[in-house]
Amino acid sequence: MNASRLSTVNIVALTIGFAFLYVPILILIVFSFNESRLVTVWAGFSTKWYAALLENRQIMDAAWITLRVAIVSATVATIIGTLAGLTLARFVRFRGRTLFTGMIYAPLVMPEVITGLALLLLFVALDWDRGYWTVTLAHATFSMAYVAVIVQSRLVGFDRSLEEAAMDLGATPLRTFFAVTLTLIAPALIAGWLLAFTLSLDDLVIASFASGPGATTLPMRIYSQVRLGVTPEINAISTILIAIVACGAVAATLVQKRSLVLRRRAEAAARADV
């Protein structure tokens, strides 16, 4: 009696909460298929705004730049972020650890306008031309913090005895790292890469500071159009982006989950052997 009342309340909370999170996105997607230019009146199904996108050179150029920035910056962020995650999880004591953890966690909450301004001033001080490479560096820097946290949490639940076994069998530390450690944390690396990729794909503020002429990213292009009002083309490009990101997120979750299942199975098998 008590439990069932509680679960009604819980179902209501779940319904309202998820409706709040998803209805705006669903409306956006639905109206990308609207025949009419008006975004609030339904006038029949049409895919013409998607066709119009393909004709739009500015959008397509921006999409291509964004994709290149996202792939390169996510890869750099994954490599350095993995090292940072290893440092956080394994090396509990070294000189400057407080500063190090500070520099990892601060970008997670730092207002983007500050990070963007700071990076821009660095690029000006170094006299680097702003463009594709500066945006890529900026994105790699702020997304590596996310990778580091993901890798660290994976390493925390990690069975060190496998590494010890490899070393006992004569593997060098480097070989152990590549053969054992990296294999076991691979799901975290994939999840981290995907997260870094989508963070880069989405970023407007830091890109606006770090970018220069000739390197307008898709969010920057969308933003300049959004300021002029709501149009079905923006709904269409948004829908495509949402679809890409949703696939990435589902893939990342499945990878993490599958590895967890495999690990549990292996652990169960190991116990059975004993």
Partner: protein, 300 residues
Amino acid sequence: MNTSWGKRLVIAAPYLWLGLFFLIPFLIVLKLSFAEVVLARPPYTPLIEWLNAAGQFAPKLRVNFANYLLLLSDDLYIRSFLISLRIAFFATLIALAVGYPLAYAMARAPESWRAILVMLVILPFWTSFLIRVYAWIGILKNEGLLNAALMAVGIISKPLVIMNTDWAVYIGIVYSYLPFMVLPLYAALEKQDPSLLEAAADLGAPPWKAFWTVTVPLSLPGIVAGSLLVFIPAVGEFVIPDILGGSGTLMIGKTLWAEFFNNRDWPLASAIAVVLLVVLVVPIVWFQRQQAARAVEDGR
């Protein structure tokens, strides 16, 4: 020894990267906040002048406090800071009020559902911030879907003005940052042992009392983490007040952006960034401490 060199290398690479691209940039911001704006490339004066007017070597330090004095004296900047703090504070409270029941229901859901529910909360966080804010324009504007629906039902006779007001900014922040609130809350609530509530019930506590004296205090780390994750970035938010707020919604991120991009006053923008960091340093350090402590706890 071999391993110690490997260890040094592992630490050094991210350390140097973050030093160059995270720490040094902040020092440059600090330096620039003491410069003067000039019509040149780059548009600011150097902090140290190495040569005097005659071209001789005579280093001279030029520190200009005018930017900070302007921030303290001009009503616009003070109001921007106060409005940002107020909006971020209330948006955090609303996000907590909306997020807590959701996180609670998720933690009490059957175990087989939980992974999917968590995934459903994370998914919007992966989707573009800009797009999610944009999605609200069509809903909130005067001839938008919300007003059309309310008028069709007959609740209101003329459109509510929500777009371009603080209300729209509150909705935007709560909506965008809700996953950041829900996930730490869920993590804290999910860990709780249900037998604690049973014990409270056995000892005669009614459900609401058990909730306030057992569930809420035990979820405090989640409340703190979630609130900081919403509050800190919300104070410096630019996209939401710019797109959903009106010209009267002075938030400091918007003011910084305008000083930088519209007025091209880089030193003043830097001074705003420094003050914003000083304002946020307490919550940021609090957040870092909490995260570091949690990491150590997980490691045990």
